[in-house]
């Protein structure tokens, strides 16, 4: 696990490397598109026309572009929920579960305090969402800190518990009078404001601010320094007087809190209601994006954007080209392979 964190800590995050990073990612994505094109050819479809479809349905129109941004919002936040614990060597695969619990807490706020004005209700929901995610992450974090169980496995297992709890709450208590599988629609005060007449909502600002804060904290603050020390050599950090156990619990809870916020953002900003399978695997996608980006904030933005394009475009391919929706997973998998092969793949280019 230390090794992973080492990789992360070696990854450039300085301003002068921004351009280099962007170019490198673009090259990798082109390669992934080329390989996916071969698959499309084998399936008897025209790759160029397919890419044109994807492009025009996503980046080619204002509406398409805004939809890409909308689906990117939860990815940004859940990726950060993985990136932060990553820096101290923790593997948080529990983003999915933390997102569920966060959404449940936020929904509780929305349903219970629906009389409050928006300026009070929304922060309350955000706090509740973070609290829920943090509580869910506390379990693996604490068990790890006392040296009992590996957080990777506990956080993963808790992912299958959280949706059951949501189902129980919705079906048992929260469902609307007319529909048993979802809650009543939230009141307007419980909805995040949207911009420019699109579906882009305030969650985007949350995500970007958090990413910038993450970058600043890691680079400049005492806590960032101590976290990097833990990620780089936990034993030495402990001997140097950095309280390892405290950091493990707190950072895991922070990661969970961020994932919980993603849950709140989805129910409040996107759906305006809570239903059992609302997450659409955003927690897992966040994990993948974080890995693809090497837990680097700028990389997370780029990768979230790319994955979001692929995701939104995939819907369209299904309609226009008669391709099964699953082909999109092939493209995602190619992207994953190529980006993860990066260390050796582009070695010759590095100075």
């Amino acid at each position: 696990m230390t090794k992973l964190a080492e990789t992360v800590n070696r990854f450039p995050s300085g301003g002068q490397k921004v351009l280099q990073t962007v170019v490198r990612y673009l090259l990798m994505i082109l390669l992934a598109l080329f390989m996916f094109g071969l698959i499309l050819l084998i399936a008897g479809k025209d790759p160029l026309a397919s890419y044109k479809d994807i492009f025009s349905s996503t980046l080619g129109s204002t509406r398409g572009f805004s939809e890409v941004i909308v689906s990117m919002i939860p990815m940004l936040i859940t990726a950060l929920a993985v990136a932060l614990p990553f820096r101290v060597g923790l593997i948080n695969i529990g983003g999915e579960g933390q997102l569920f619990i966060g959404a449940a807490f936020a929904t509780f706020g929305a349903l219970t305090f629906s009389n409050l004005p928006a300026w009070l209700l929304l922060p309350l929901m955000a706090l509740l969402g973070m609290l829920g995610g943090a509580l869910w992450a506390f379990i693996p974090g604490y068990l790890k800190a006392i040296g009992l169980v590996n957080e990777t496995i506990t956080s993963l297992l808790l992912n299958s518990v959280a949706p059951k709890i949501i189902g129980f709450l919705i079906l048992g208590f929260w469902h609307s009078p007319r529909d048993t599988v979802k809650t009543p629609s939230f009141v307007d005060a419980a909805r995040l404001p949207t911009f420019f007449g699109t579906r882009i909502h305030l969650g985007l600002v949350f995500g970007l601010i958090l990413l910038i804060a993450f970058w600043l904290v890691m680079k400049y603050t005492r806590w960032g320094l101590e976290m990097r020390a833990i990620g780089s050599n936990p034993q030495a950090a402990k001997r140097n007087g950095i309280s390892l156990a405290k950091y493990l619990v707190i950072v895991m809870c922070l990661g969970g809190g961020i994932a919980g916020l993603a849950g709140m953002v989805q129910v409040s900003g996107f759906y305006g209601t809570l239903f059992p399978n609302f997450s659409m695997n955003m927690g897992f996608l966040g994990f993948m994006i974080c890995w693809l980006a090497g837990a680097d904030p700028l990389g997370i933005v780029l990768m979230a954007f790319v994955v979001s394009v692929i995701y939104s475009g995939g819907n369209l391919l299904q309609l226009t080209r008669g391709l099964p929706y699953a082909v999109i997973n092939i493209l995602l998998a190619f992207t994953l392979f190529i980006v993860l092969a990066r260390p050796t793949f582009f070695k010759g280019k590095k100075s």
Partner: protein, 519 residues
């Protein structure tokens, strides 16, 4: 109970090593060593840690390759390039940490090691052979048992069986008794004795005097990579061996000792009946009573693995004090966190800087700040004052006359520079109590003197030092008081001029305390 050397007509050695030289960066581990091994003998290789015993044997086993020198088998020089070559020439070795696979059964582990393993295993036949051999040499193990379920002693039996089934005739055992209980040691020696009678040659790497005298036929003593002497059992005595192991060397550094110790002053560190939990193979500390006063260097002698690391960690708070109490600067500190201990004024120089003190992928300067992030943090932690870190570190570097780059990743530093970096970091905090383990490991002569000077200076300014080392000469020249650790207990406590290197050497190897242990 000395074993009787098998009387035979002057035999030819089955293996001879001639002029073996091997250097590692900064260390000459073996310097023109010669060694002859005969059939039907137990040959003990004796020496302190770092004397070059294991290196020499790993060369014979093909694990390392020597820089120069020859290995002769029955008089013919042969190149041993890998353990595989060594096994073909019937050499087998049992390492300190065993190499068994816990998830496999005994028979499977042994089968894996056989030189000509067929594609389809005949485990029945292997089981049969295991049972035969284990009966013959009293190495009883159940071939079907999982290795993970075996005790350490049983695992060792499996390791030996493995070599026997692979038809090794020269068995090298690296500190085989380190992990065994007394009755297991006895049983092992019986096994070795019967192997010897069947013509096997056995090399026993050890630093325990008592065992050597109990079972070896011939004894070769190494010291600092040199051959100190080879004795027959009949010529050897404890005193002779201790003299060979710890020859008094000329002190390379004279330190003016101004006795500053004032026992009347309250101790900086006091351990009273402190004990730790045993972990794995390492014995915990038992009933430690220790005081370190201001202006005093307390040397801790002992062969590594006898509780020195635990002692340092106990003071630092890295491991729990499960019995007794720990007082720092007059305050009960039994349950303080490491951060609180460090804040109260404790500096810690661990035995291995790379794994225990630094973050390899951070820069040297960042590493400099790690032990005292609180004192360099500004604006409540939002900002770090790197200028202050740099200024303070450079001041200490100047005082010690150390120099190393500050803006490179710590892992790019050499071992010596890493050690300098840790010394600078710890001294910058001006600790009132310093725990220094193997302070001068990896340092050149000049830096060694500077590092020792730094400790003496700190002591002269009223700090207390707990100085853990295996270098007796260093301990004697620096310490104001000496304690000796053996198997987790303090077996001796002296002023350096009340004792001598030989007495301490005896205590370190456990040869005198034998009587105490029974009671």
């Amino acid at each position: 109970m000395p074993g009787t050397p098998a009387s035979r007509p002057i035999p030819k050695p089955i293996v001879s090593m001639r002029g073996i030289t091997k250097s590692f960066p900064g260390v000459l581990a073996n310097d023109h060593l010669d060694l002859d091994i005969y059939a039907s003998e137990i040959h003990a290789l004796l020496g302190e840690n770092g004397a070059g015993k294991s290196t020499l044997m790993k060369i014979l086993y093909g694990f390392y390759r020597c820089d120069s020198g020859d290995i002769l088998f029955d008089g013919l020089p042969l190149a041993i390039r890998s353990p595989h070559d060594a096994r073909l020439h019937q050499v087998g070795m049992v390492f300190q940490d065993f190499s068994l696979i816990p998830a496999l059964s005994v028979a499977e582990n042994i089968a894996l090691f056989l030189p000509h393993l067929p594609s389809v295993l005949n485990l029945k036949a292997i089981n049969q052979r295991i049972l035969e051999i284990s009966k013959r040499y009293d190495l009883q193990v159940n071939p079907r048992a999982m290795v993970s379920q075996l005790s350490i002693g049983e695992q060792q039996k499996v390791e030996i069986l493995k070599l026997l089934l692979a038809e090794a005739h020269l068995l090298i055992l690296d500190e085989p008794t380190r992990v065994l209980a007394p009755h297991e040691v006895e049983a092992l020696f019986k096994v070795l004795d019967s192997l010897r009678q069947d013509g096997y040659a056995i090399i026993l790497i050890t630093h325990k005097m008592k065992e050597v005298l109990e079972c070896a036929d011939r004894i070769t003593v190494l010291r600092g990579g040199h051959l100190a002497g080879t004795l027959l059992r009949s010529e050897a005595s404890e005193d002779k061996l201790v003299a060979l192991m710890f020859e008094k060397k000329m002190a390379s550094l004279q330190i003016n000792r101004t006795p500053l110790i004032s026992e009347s002053q309250a101790p900086l560190l006091e351990l009273s009946a402190a004990g730790t939990r045993a972990e794995g193979l390492v014995p915990g500390l038992k009933d430690i009573h220790l005081k370190v006063h201001p202006g005093e260097i307390v040397g801790v002698a002992g062969v590594s693995g006898n509780g020195q690391k635990e002692l340092g960690d106990l003071v630092l708070g890295m491991i729990k004090c499960v019995r007794g109490r720990k007082f720092l600067f007059g305050r009960d500190s039994t349950h303080l966190s490491i951060q609180q201990v460090r804040k109260s004024g404790v500096g810690f120089i661990p035995e291995n800087p790379l794994s225990m003190a630094i973050s390899p992928f951070m820069t040297v300067l960042q590493n400099m700040a790690l032990t005292r992030t609180w004192s360099y943090a500004r604006a409540g932690g939002l900002r770090m004052d790197w200028k202050a870190v740099k200024g303070e570190a450079e001041r200490t570097m100047q005082a010690l006359e150390f120099s190393f780059p500050l803006y490179v990743p710590a892992r790019s530093l050499s071992g010596g520079n890493l050690q300098r970096m840790v010394i600078v970091r710890e001294m910058t905090a001006q600790p009132r109590l310093i725990i220094a383990s193997y302070l001068t490991r990896g340092l050149d002569v000049q830096s060694t003197i500077a590092a020792r000077q730094a400790l003496v200076q700190a002591r002269d300014n009223g700090a207390g030092v707990l100085f853990i080392s295996e270098d007796l000469e260093e301990l004697f020249s620096l310490s104001d008081r000496l304690i000796v650790l053996y198997e987790g207990t303090i077996v001796g406590s002296f002023k350096p001029d009340e004792t001598n290197i030989f007495e301490v050497g005896h205590l370190m190897t456990g040869s005198v305390v034998q009587n105490d242990k029974i009671s």
